[in-house]
Structure formats: structure tokens, C-alpha cells
């Protein structure tokens, strides 16, 4: 249970669950391309990178003092 709660509230879950489709929709709206890489794959890459950084730092924007 604790593991499930930790996972749902983790930055990585947020990056996959929300940021990935959000970035993909923004890219589609702005007609952005990533060469041969599909937009959804590129969005996943960007979102998960942000999520991993946030997970390691403990915050999305800043290192908590």
C-alpha cells in the first residue's frame, strides 16, 4: 500500500501520467516535429527526464533548502 501511494505521488508517475500527454498535445498544437522520433516518444523522453531530475532533487523547480 505504502509503495503504491509513494508511486502515485512520485514525480515520475506525474511525468508519465500527465506531463507526457501534455507536452505531446502542446507539440501537436504548435505543429512541432522531432525528426524521425514520434511526438509521443519525444514527449515521454522530455517528461521522464524532468521527472527523474525532480525525483532526485526532491522538487520540480528548486533544490529544497
Amino acid at each position: 500500500m505504502q509503495l503504491l501511494i509513494n508511486w502515485i505521488f512520485s514525480p515520475i508517475a506525474f511525468s508519465i501520467g500527465f506531463l507526457t500527454p501534455l507536452i505531446a498535445q502542446i507539440c501537436a498544437t504548435l505543429d512541432m516535429q522531432f525528426g524521425s522520433l514520434p511526438v509521443l516518444a519525444a514527449s515521454l523522453l522530455i517528461a521522464v527526464t524532468l521527472g527523474v531530475v525532480a525525483q532526485v532533487r526532491g522538487n520540480w523547480l528548486w533544490q529544497r533548502p
Binding site: I8, A13, G17, T20, P21, L61, R64, P65
Partner: protein
């Protein structure tokens, strides 16, 4: 009561005078808060079909969502203090309904807000025990930096554990999990931008606004404790409505069962007593 009465009154007489004045503003059914709480939440809910069906442009939906979410907390705040109906009253269920319903846009559990808020009242400005203590910062810029860049999101959970209300903590976790799952579902169903601009971003902006005016401004600089010291009155550049009625928050901390809509009148009536007690009334 004249100014001379206040200045010559003994401590006991002053207490009695204060309680008598405050009592005039208590036990009033806050119908405006009830209409506000229910109407505001319905307005926010109506934004979803209006935007998804293309009746309302997304940018306007974002503006209205930010406004409605920022306005969603205060009716619940009156319900937290049982102002709509106290325990045992036949309308008690309605008090709890308004409490839960009005804060749906904030994706917060009413009981989490209620129990942590009671601790805030008990321990306002005490670093270890006030659940809202972390908002304190030197100035507005520092507050915003702390809120957006380095928020401490564990404080309410820690408070609920300290007071032994893990059942309420569990309810809070369920509310937050439901919020995230709805966001994820909307996003993967092709409505990520709509979810971001009708809920996720407006909620973050609204929370900053609410915390600024409810937690930071009335308790700034957050150093004094005690009934007449931990909260201050202030004059806001945005006026009383723009500051969510918090100019008179000192009245709320002294008499939490006075409805928000009656705190300005109560403040004016209590002002000579508060002045004698040496309260920080700013230039209000």
C-alpha cells in the same frame, strides 16, 4: 460603549465588553457563504462541458477557473468552524456538505483542512506546531519563491499524525490520489491542455493566492504568539474583496465563529478594544 469606557475599564470589564460585542456577530446563518460555496463550485464544474464543447475558449476557461478555484476555499473555511450548523444541529449535514463540496476544485479533503486549521488556530506562529508556519518569509517575493520553488508539502500530514488522526490523513491521500488519477485520465484521453488550464495550473495559482492572503499576510512576520499578537489587521492594496476578506483576519482568530461576511463590522465595533490591547492593526 465610549472610548472613555474602554480606556478606564478594568481587565475583567474589558474582557466582558469584548465578548459582548463579539456575541452580536455570532450565531448568524451565513447564507451568502453558502450560496458562494455552492454557486462557485457549480460555476467551476460548468467550465468543463463549456470548454470541451467549444462554447467557451480555453483561455477564458483558464481565467475563470483560476478565479473560481481561488474563491473556493472560504465557504469551506466557515464550515470548518461549524458556522453553518454546529454539531448536533438538524442542518449539520448541510454544514459538512458545503465544507466538502465548495473545496472540490482545490482537490482537498474538507476534514484535512478542518483538523489542520484547528491546529493553526491553537498554535499560530509556533514554528514546530503551526501547520501553516512554513509560509513565513521576509517579503512577497520570498513567499512566492518558497511557495512555488521549494514548498514543504509534508506539513499537514505531519500535523495529522501528531494529533493521531491517521484516518483523516488517509482521506486526504485518497482525495489527492483521485485528483491525480482524474488528471492522468483526462490527459491520456486527449484533454491534457484542458486539464492543465482548467485545473492543474489554476489550482497552483489559486493555492499561492489563498496561502498568501490567509496564511502569510495576516500573520506576518510570524514571530509573535498569543491571542492578541499572532494575527494582525492590514490594509490591502487590492481592497477587502481582492484580499479575500483577510484584512480583518484578526477578528476571525479571536472569534472563529463569526462568519467571514461579518468580520468587517465586528472589527469596527471591536477596534477601540483591540487598540487598547495593543494589537497590530496596521493602518486599517
Amino acid at each position: 460603549m465610549t472610548s472613555a469606557d474602554v480606556h478606564t475599564a478594568s481587565a475583567a470589564e474589558l474582557d466582558a465588553m469584548e465578548r459582548r460585542i463579539a456575541a452580536r456577530f455570532m450565531h448568524i446563518f451565513p447564507w451568502r457563504m453558502v450560496l458562494w460555496g455552492i454557486g462557485n463550485c457549480l460555476l467551476w464544474l460548468s467550465l468543463w462541458p463549456l470548454v470541451l464543447k467549444g462554447v467557451l475558449p480555453l483561455w477564458l476557461g483558464f481565467v475563470l477557473a483560476t478565479l473560481t478555484i481561488a474563491l473556493s476555499y472560504l465557504p469551506s473555511h466557515d464550515a470548518q468552524h461549524n458556522i453553518i450548523a454546529r454539531r448536533g444541529h438538524r442542518l449539520r449535514w448541510f454544514n459538512e456538505f458545503v465544507g466538502y463540496f465548495s473545496v472540490l476544485p482545490l482537490a482537498n479533503s474538507f476534514r484535512v483542512l478542518r483538523h489542520t486549521h484547528y491546529e493553526h488556530h491553537k498554535y499560530a506562529n509556533e514554528p514546530a506546531l503551526d501547520p501553516d508556519y512554513d509560509v513565513h518569509a521576509k517579503n512577497t517575493w520570498q513567499f512566492l519563491l518558497r511557495h512555488f520553488a521549494a514548498p514543504n508539502l509534508d506539513r499537514y500530514g505531519e500535523t495529522l499524525q501528531r494529533i493521531g488522526r491517521t484516518d483523516v490523513l488517509m482521506e486526504g491521500i485518497l482525495f489527492n490520489a483521485a485528483y491525480l488519477l482524474i488528471l492522468f485520465t483526462l490527459a491520456w484521453s486527449g484533454y491534457a491542455l484542458e486539464a492543465a488550464l482548467l485545473w492543474w495550473l489554476p489550482r497552483h495559482l489559486a493555492l499561492a493566492y489563498i496561502r498568501y492572503y490567509l496564511s502569510w499576510m495576516p500573520h506576518h512576520p510570524g514571530e509573535a504568539t498569543g491571542r492578541y499578537r499572532d494575527t494582525r489587521a492590514f490594509k490591502s492594496r487590492l481592497g477587502n474583496i481582492g484580499s479575500l476578506g483577510m484584512q480583518y483576519h484578526i477578528v476571525h482568530h479571536l472569534y472563529p465563529t463569526i462568519p467571514l461576511t461579518h468580520t468587517p463590522a465586528a472589527y469596527r465595533a471591536l477596534k477601540p478594544i483591540l487598540e487598547r490591547r495593543g494589537c497590530d492593526l496596521g493602518n486599517l
